[in-house]
């Protein structure tokens, strides 16, 4: 026992407090973040486990980089980025979604609410602490990331931008989990709802896009022309067969050929009206901030061949552009006209083939280089983040007006 005696009223070094403040403060947010991280600190066994895990990742990273060829490819980098986003969007919400109703059930929330900490302190502190854990996942993938980046043909600025966006997406997902935790009474419900929300954004948007395609489809009429083989004379059939086999159409008289016309209807989806559904997908947001790769000139540009992201960007762009004249032209098939072109001379026949090829390549390039628009997706994420945090802060304010159904204050 010591003889230390504190004065009954130690000076409290807090500023004068009025009303019922709720805004987060720097000191309070830091304190709550620290508490939450301290509570999750691993035991000695845990540290050993994480150490072994980290060593394994490092070793694997070194092994892969030694064994791989020098050829440029962006696929490993893209896979790592998707992995980081996926892991973050699973871990962040899993932690945050039990943070409020779990604490309340354990009886460790209300004592904190009795202190000088504001609802905002608790909300932001809990958000940041869950997010930091997801951030740690990113840090553990660094060896892979460095290796994958080295051969990806990306620039450092581009990688950093994508990483920042990934961390932001994880932050939003974590905030949504926290909001569910503030709304639902039981942890099981809030965790499920948090992952459901992520699922709706990642998979639901794609499914919805696919299912709404018929709703925005127009019916187009197309006429194809074929050679009517049944009505050709034997000589004509033989000549045409030979021409197809040899590529020499000089023996064929195109004007004498009998042609059948076939008209049919097909639907084209005006995906430019529903492309926004795809654009709010977090994976698409990541792809929309990653660098454009020109499929024709990537080698001169110092890039790797178009990888997953570039191909997805092309598909998304195609959806955003919608059906074009060129699409309609490429759909139409006129065998008789083709034969006529080819019969009229070799040069033109070559041109005819190239024209089609050129249109296709031009379209590919146009889609691949179509301007990126992450803004819709990022805008929605900002809205989700602000909305979720508003809900959390509101629900953490005391005195409580309403309680989560079937719960007690604690």
């Amino acid at each position: 026992m010591t003889t230390t005696e504190t004065s009954p009223n130690p000076t409290v070094t807090a500023p004068a407090r009025k009303g019922n403040p709720w805004l987060p403060t720097l000191h309070g947010t830091f304190l709550v973040t620290r508490i939450e991280l301290l509570r999750r600190r691993p035991s000695t066994k845990g540290w050993i486990f994480y150490g072994i895990l980290l060593a394994a990742i490092l070793g694997l990273g070194i092994l892969v980089s030694v064994l791989s060829t020098a050829e440029k490819t962006s696929t490993p980098l893209e896979l790592v980025l998707v992995l980081v986003l996926g892991a973050g969007m699973l871990i962040g919400p899993s932690l945050s979604a039990t943070s409020i109703n779990g604490d309340s059930g354990e009886g460790v929330l209300a004592p904190l609410q009795m202190t000088h900490l504001t609802a905002g302190d608790l909300a932001v502190g809990k958000l940041l602490s869950s997010w930091f854990v997801a951030f740690a996942v990113l840090v553990t993938t660094t060896p892979f990331l460095v290796y994958a980046y080295a051969r990806s043909g990306w620039h450092l600025g581009e990688l950093l931008l994508v990483l920042v966006v990934i961390l932001f997406l994880v932050l939003t997902a974590t905030a949504v989990g926290l909001a569910w935790s503030a709304i639902a009474a039981r942890a099981v419900a809030s965790v499920s709802l948090a992952h459901l929300t992520t699922g709706v954004l990642v998979i639901g948007t794609l499914v919805l896009f696919a299912f709404t395609a018929p709703l925005v489809s127009d019916t187009m009429t197309e006429t194809d022309r074929y050679v009517a083989w049944d009505e050709l004379s034997d000589e004509q059939s033989t000549a045409l067969e030979d021409a197809y086999n040899t590529g020499d159409f000089s023996a064929v008289d195109p004007d004498a050929l009998v042609c059948d016309e076939e008209t049919y209807e097909y639907g084209i989806a005006h995906t430019e009206r529903t492309a926004w559904m795809v654009l709010i997908n977090p994976l698409v947001v990541i792809e929309e901030v990653s660098p454009l790769v020109n499929p024709l000139t990537f080698e001169e540009d110092g890039r790797a061949a178009p990888g997953i992201f570039a191909n997805v960007h092309q598909m998304v762009s195609s959806a955003r552009i919608g059906p074009t004249e060129a699409d309609a032209q490429m759909m139409e098939y006129d065998e008789c006209a083709d034969i006529a072109t080819m019969a009229s001379g070799d040069d033109e026949s070559a041109d005819g083939g190239n024209a089609y090829q050129d249109t296709w390549e031009q379209q590919q390039e146009e889609q691949a280089m179509y301007p990126r628009t992450p803004w819709l997706g990022l805008g929605l994420q900002v809205l989700l983040l602000v909305g979720a945090m508003a809900i959390v802060t509101h629900r953490l304010r005391v005195p409580y007006r309403t309680l989560r159904t079937g719960t007690r204050v604690a």
């Binding site: 070094t13 019922n20 301290l38 202190t115």
Partner: protein
């Protein structure tokens, strides 16, 4: 209902006509109480009578549907921050951060109450000594027993140096020694000038701890009738003589207000006395009249007696 505009000065906490419903369940119907600095007030009532709900409203964690609460002159609803600042609340749930040590827990709360790091650490140390947990200071909370957690919870409520202490069932699950320590601690806290409100089921313990009692039943606090009941219960003494001695006759002869004890013979009786002096006089006269008295003292717990008789009335 007339609502007092201002609590009389000198009152640490004053509640008037407070009510609160959860959905269709009216948890607190009409509760009024006043806490005075330096006194310990007991909040007594059966399970589910609304004690915890009332305490939550007093602590500023739950918004009352009606009525007024004033903590040190502040309304916990409109001036929540400053009202809560004056209150130390110990919940009936034993929630602790499992992986933090006792010192860490308390120091963190000190920081949350706005203390500097050095002050928080120092106060954490003092509080651990105060609740006899100093030897477990470096242990994580998960290894603490129920009673130890309870004491840590009390220390936690004291980290903000509150003028008003609201303790929800602090004695439940404590061993006899811990209860005595708790009683001494609560008395010491009141002696420091704090107003203490304590709810408990262990009425015999409260008897020796509290200055005032507020009875609560079905969401209503019982006022003067209950106080009269406590006073009456405090004046009931039990007389036991050796077998064969007729205490009943002796008491009738002394013109005392007495009643027989069910299932006992004429050697046992319960008698009303005015005060301790009167009791001593009675004992002296009984002994003088030749009675061989083997036991003489107040009947059980006064609060328990009052509690039971009130409950009986309301059935």
């Amino acid at each position: 209902m007339t609502v007092q505009a201002q609590a009389p000065t000198g009152h640490a906490l004053h509640a008037q006509g407070v009510r609160r419903a959860f959905g269709s369940v009216q948890a607190v119907v009409n509760a009024s109480l006043t806490l005075t600095p330096g006194t310990v007030t007991a909040l007594i009532g059966p399970n589910g009578c609304g004690k915890t709900t009332l305490m939550l409203m007093l602590a500023g964690l739950l918004r009352p549907d009606g009525g007024t609460v004033e903590v040190l002159g502040h309304d916990p609803v409109t001036a929540g921050a400053v009202a809560r600042k004056g209150i130390g609340w110990m919940p009936d749930v034993l929630g602790m951060w499992d992986s933090l040590t006792c010192t860490e827990t308390l120091a963190t709360f000190g920081r949350a109450y706005g203390l500097s790091k050095a002050d928080a650490d120092a106060r954490a140390f003092t509080m651990l000594e105060k609740v006899h947990l100093a030897d477990l200071a470096a242990q994580p909370a998960r290894v603490l027993s129920r009673g130890q957690k309870q004491r840590l919870s009390l220390a936690r409520a004291l980290m903000g140096d509150p003028s008003v202490l609201i303790l929800d069932e602090p004695a439940s699950g404590l061993d006899p020694r811990s209860r005595i320590e708790l009683r001494d601690l609560v008395r010491a806290l009141a002696a420091e000038g704090r107003a203490v409100l304590i709810s408990s089921h262990v009425l015999s313990e409260l008897d020796e701890m509290v200055d005032e009692a507020v009875f609560m039943s079905k969401g209503v606090t019982l006022g003067e009738s209950a106080e009269a009941e406590v006073a009456r219960a405090r004046a009931r003494w039990r007389v036991t003589a050796l077998p064969g001695h007729d205490v009943h006759a002796a008491l009738s002869e002394a013109a005392r207000d007495w009643s027989p004890v069910e299932g006992a013979d004429a050697s046992v009786a319960v008698v009303h006395v005015a005060d301790a002096d009167d009791a001593a006089d009675l004992l002296a006269s009984l002994v003088a009249s030749g009675m061989r008295i083997s036991a003489f003292g107040p009947v059980g717990s006064a609060l328990e007696q009052a509690y039971l008789s009130i409950e009986q009335e309301r059935r």
